[in-house]
């Protein structure tokens, strides 16, 4: 990937602090990629009705309602230790815009929204375990399933530490976000990023996105949003850095993300050694059983 003619690594930076939960990304993704409808369910979990990433949901907007102080000063009495600090996220209110005097009458409530997507890991377990080579790494360093090769073995599904890729039951193959491989090859941005009205979803060269994200998190910290943190941007993490990373306002598990995922194949050499040892023990045990007979 270091050859001069290969394009720079592409990725997503999802800044959840400006997500308004409109789900335009979900819709745009389904439309562009012709992802089939997978149930219009009311899950009774806030405004979330797609639930999770799956074969038929490649962008999923999470909604978290928290009773946390927001946008006004407080003494911190009664606030759980380490709870997110005060921040005005521009949540809907009953007042006309501009009528409200800031900090006076906002409730103790905040709404976290985040558009989740395939992380396009640097060390991708789904790609590693795929026995057919259907999953491959593109020239943009993204991870894509070739649907004409996938035989639906389903191995990638439990291999993914984020619960992203899944098998579509009606057609038996594995599906997930392609980072709009067909669009970015033509110089277009992915459908979700294109549709995002607040630039919560930003597409671009990964190096540039990382710098931008670093600046954004510093800005937020300066503005008093101490709970802002980046997730998946560290090239030294368990998946050697994600191609799609996030700015979160709470711990990752609150958004349904694993707090410290590690690519499972990191332990595979040791697994093979243990399996080899067990095979030798089996051979030795059986040999002993027959040798005992002769003696």
């Amino acid at each position: 990937m270091t050859a001069d003619e290969s394009p720079p690594r592409k990725g997503f930076f999802t800044d959840t602090s400006v997500c308004i939960g409109c789900k335009a990304c979900e819709v745009a993704c389904k439309e562009w990629n012709m992802v089939p409808e997978d149930g219009l369910d009311f899950l009774a979990t806030s405004f979330d009705n797609s639930g999770r990433l799956s074969a038929d949901t490649w962008r999923h907007v999470a909604f978290i309602e928290q009773r946390a102080p927001l946008g006004h000063q407080d003494a911190g009495v009664g606030r759980p230790e380490g709870a997110p600090g005060a921040v005005d996220l521009g949540m809907p209110s009953f007042d006309l815009p501009g009528q409200r005097t800031d900090g006076e009458d906002q409730g103790d409530f905040r709404w976290l929204m985040s558009s989740d997507v395939c992380k396009h890991c640097t060390s991708a377990a789904c790609l590693d375990v795929c026995p057919t080579g259907a999953l491959f790494r593109t020239e943009f360093d993204t991870v894509v399933v070739q649907d004409d090769i996938c035989n639906g073995c389903g191995y990638c599904v439990p291999a993914c530490p984020y619960g992203v890729i899944d098998r579509r039951e009606v057609d038996g193959r594995a599906w997930k976000c392609t980072l709009c491989y067909d669009r970015i090859g033509e110089g277009l941005e992915p459908a979700c990023a294109k549709a995002c009205p607040t630039d919560s979803i930003q597409f671009g060269d990964l190096d540039e996105l990382r710098e931008r994200a670093q600046r954004r998190v510093e800005d937020l910290h300066e503005a008093g949003v101490s709970s802002a943190r980046l997730y998946g941007e560290d090239p030294d993490d368990g998946v050697d850095g994600a191609g799609a990373f996030f700015l979160l306002l709470d711990e990752p598990e609150v958004y349904g993300l694993p707090p410290d995922p590690v690519v499972t194949t990191r332990d595979l050499p040791s697994m093979w050694r243990h399996a080899g040892a067990a095979a030798l023990v089996l051979l030795a045990g059986a040999t002993a059983a027959f040798a005992g007979r002769r003696a």
Binding site: N151, G163, M271
Partner: protein, 355 residues
């Protein structure tokens, strides 16, 4: 490694849960009551205190395993039975136990055929099975396994057919030896296959799982020997069966213990029932194999118990994986603990360097 028995941070985390929006928030007194009740019901104190953790509406982090339990559980069991049967058949052939070798060769062929059929049946696109042979990927145990089956299957087939017909005895012997040498790998590669996933109850047991599978395979093949061979010839099979059975129960118990918190699913729900029944059947089979060594019927019955125990062991492991993927706590709690340990280690380092 994680130390699931140390959940000291529980106290400091109380009240940090999102109050609205986290379906799994349970007040501390109720959680304690629940833990007590569970402890009393099982006649022992819970090994690990209930973990305090946050999640997204209590939803799982991982996507659920899409494999069918009968298919992939059967694939694991039959692969083990085939591999170990080939080992025993080769040993029996060279130590003058023809009546033990022959049925075990048939068993190996039938089992490996069944195992492959189960794998193909589980594919979303069975007609594309041969895509498995498009590439050879050491990073994918399923790819390695497919190639292993391509090598081992024909050997087991030739060994069985030559044994049945008496044709080409020299080729038959070579195939028997070849299958006997490949057999242990066929019996154990399925352990890395399931452990090379993000499923906590599988992945974290990767050091013990191959030994569970190898011993379970030995017990199954030995059991098959007890069923099919006359008592005069089944001595080695009996020893393998009893040794395998004891090792199977010991190693799987050890694995569950080592896994600690993440190993909970092996003792709970359907996985718990399967695992406990497997151990009971396996131990009963081992005792029967020893006590009934002069009685063909008792031997055969013991062999059947061992086969059943081995199959239930694999189904139990499979089901534990399903249960562990379904509950976000098995993903979040160990990772959060690892993160906090790393952070406190870093803080210590910083403090030391400034001091």
């Amino acid at each position: 490694m994680n130390r699931p028995d140390r959940t000291g941070e529980g106290a400091s985390r109380i009240g940090r849960d999102a109050i609205t929006g986290a379906a799994d928030v349970v007040p501390e007194p109720r959680r304690e009551r629940r833990a007590r009740r569970r402890g009393a019901g099982r006649g022992e104190a819970t090994r690990v205190p209930d973990a305090d953790f946050r999640s997204y509406h209590g939803r799982p982090v991982l996507n659920q395993i899409v494999w069918e339990a009968p298919d992939i559980g059967g694939y694991l069991f039959l692969g083990g039975l085939a591999g170990a049967s080939s080992v025993l058949a080769a040993g029996a052939e060279y130590t003058g136990h023809p009546d033990l070798a022959r049925p075990l060769k048939y068993t190996a062929l039938a089992a490996i055929s069944g195992s492959t059929a189960a794998l193909i049946h589980d594919l979303g696109r069975p007609e594309r099975f041969l895509n498995m042979l498009r590439v050879f990927k050491p990073t994918s145990p399923m790819s390695v396994g497919s190639w292993l089956l391509m090598g081992y299957g024909p050997l087991a087939g030739v060994a069985a057919v030559t044994a049945a017909t008496g044709w080409f005895p020299r080729i038959g012997r070579a195939a028997t030896v070849g299958a006997g040498l490949a057999g242990p790998l066929v019996a154990t590669y399925t352990a890395p296959l399931i452990c090379d996933t993000a499923v906590p109850a599988w992945h974290d047991g990767y050091r013990q799982m191959p030994f569970v599978f190898a011993s379970s395979a030995a017990a199954a093949a030995g059991g098959m020997g007890l069923i099919t061979a006359p008592t005069a010839q089944s001595g080695p099979a009996r020893r393998v069966a009893v040794g395998g059975a004891c090792a199977e129960v010991a190693v799987s118990t050890y694995m569950e213990h080592r896994l600690g918190f993440v190993g909970e699913p092996y003792g709970q729900g359907r996985a718990g029932v399967l695992t406990r029944t497997a151990k009971a059947l396996t131990l009963a089979g081992a005792v029967g194999a020893v006590l009934g060594r002069r009685n063909r019927a008792v031997s055969a019955l013991s062999g059947a118990a061992l086969l059943g125990g081995s199959a239930l062991t694999r189904l139990g492991v499979f089901q534990a994986g399903v249960q562990s993927a379904a509950d976000p706590k098995y993903v979040v709690v160990p990772q959060r603990r690892r993160l906090e340990e790393r952070e406190s280690a870093e803080a210590r380092e910083r403090a030391e360097s400034t001091a």
